[in-house]
Symmetry: C2
């Protein structure tokens, strides 16, 4: 049974990006500190074609997060610089270079239609304009029995949570206070969401807490 | 060296009490779920003069939190039902009965003067009207070399955080979404606060994350 999973780094005060996100500063002010725990890891460096790096308790968390993923979902604000509007000259192909670290179909939820963009290494970006449920249907079909990863950002995760469509959520809780930015668990509209703690793992500079998610 | 410490149960979405706190519902709507992890513990039951109960990974966290505490601090909203105003007939003596589980001096920060109230078992409530810094001075003096525990609620913890006076913060992160209520890490006014993760412990229905707190 294909699951919709999400894992994301979050500050102790609940933000997954800092204030004032921009093309120059996609994670907002201070937001890059959310990734301090993962960037030095060998598991992260390898996925970004770099050598060396650390191995610690976070390594197995990162490796596990990559297992059994057949397709991805993300919001327009994660795919490209904030601002909305149409795709202009369509030159923008995401933040992740010619060979993005996804290696499967990634469905970008947007209000603005665009033809699919095929990248190197198996990643193709598809642009879905008919809502989060349809995007999940298409991603699930593409995943062909494997799970679908919801990459972010906050806004679309909150939408999938509120709709009761997310099944697993792992938070990488980072010892940082951002004081503002993109807040997870916001605007859930009173949806009854039940979390069950599956496991928690202490690692250098981060605590990984995995929840299964259901309706209350 | 006496430290100011705080430990508090917090929902996954960052609230330490639910919405609409009242005398009938001091932790707000859904807020009692924040304590589901601790109430069954033998360590908790013993402190409340009850027998039996569970022993798990949370037990040593609870025991450690009680060690080396010489005095306490709390906000007016934690001591009594929300509403502010003066103390009226002064009949209110806290939520914790004749023999409160503090067993030392507890300094209640309030705008309204009141004579100290001596309870059974060593707890005396003192009412401090000249601000959080003076309250900490008096508590530190009373603690006589031991640490001072900041019991809560959210508002006064945020004030001590913003003032750079808190040295240690342990969060008991509970798999619950409250959707509103008293938010920790709110109204910090852009204070540069540096957290360092000291340890994280997985336990049934809760993850305990301890931070040391400093100025950024």
């Amino acid at each position: 049974m294909s699951k919709l999973r999400c894992h994301i780094s979050i500050s102790a005060d609940g933000f997954v990006a800092g204030p004032n996100q921009s093309e120059d500063n996609p994670l907002g002010e201070g937001g890059e500190r959310l990734h301090d725990w993962i960037v030095p890891l060998a598991a992260w460096r390898e996925a970004h074609d770099k050598q060396g790096g650390k191995v610690n308790e976070s390594a197995r968390i990162v490796e596990e997060s990559r297992e059994n993923i057949g397709a991805g979902l993300m919001g327009r604000n994660m795919f490209g610089p904030i601002g909305g509007g149409d795709w202009g000259d369509e030159q923008w192909q995401g933040w992740w270079g010619d060979n993005p670290p996804y290696h499967n179909d990634v469905f970008v939820v947007t209000h603005h239609p665009r033809e699919p963009v095929e990248m190197q290494g198996g990643t193709t970006y598809h642009f879905v304009t008919d809502g989060i449920e349809r995007a999940l249907e298409r991603a699930t079909e593409s995943a062909n029995g494997q799970d679908v990863m919801l990459w972010g950002g906050a806004q679309i995760i909150n939408q999938y949570l509120a709709a009761g469509l997310l099944q697993e959520l792992e938070l990488h809780i980072v010892p940082v206070l951002l004081g503002g930015g993109a807040r997870l668990f916001d605007n859930l509209g009173g949806a009854e969401i039940k979390l069950e703690q599956v496991r928690a793992v202490e690692a250098p500079g981060v605590t990984h807490v995995k929840y299964s998610v259901g309706r209350g």
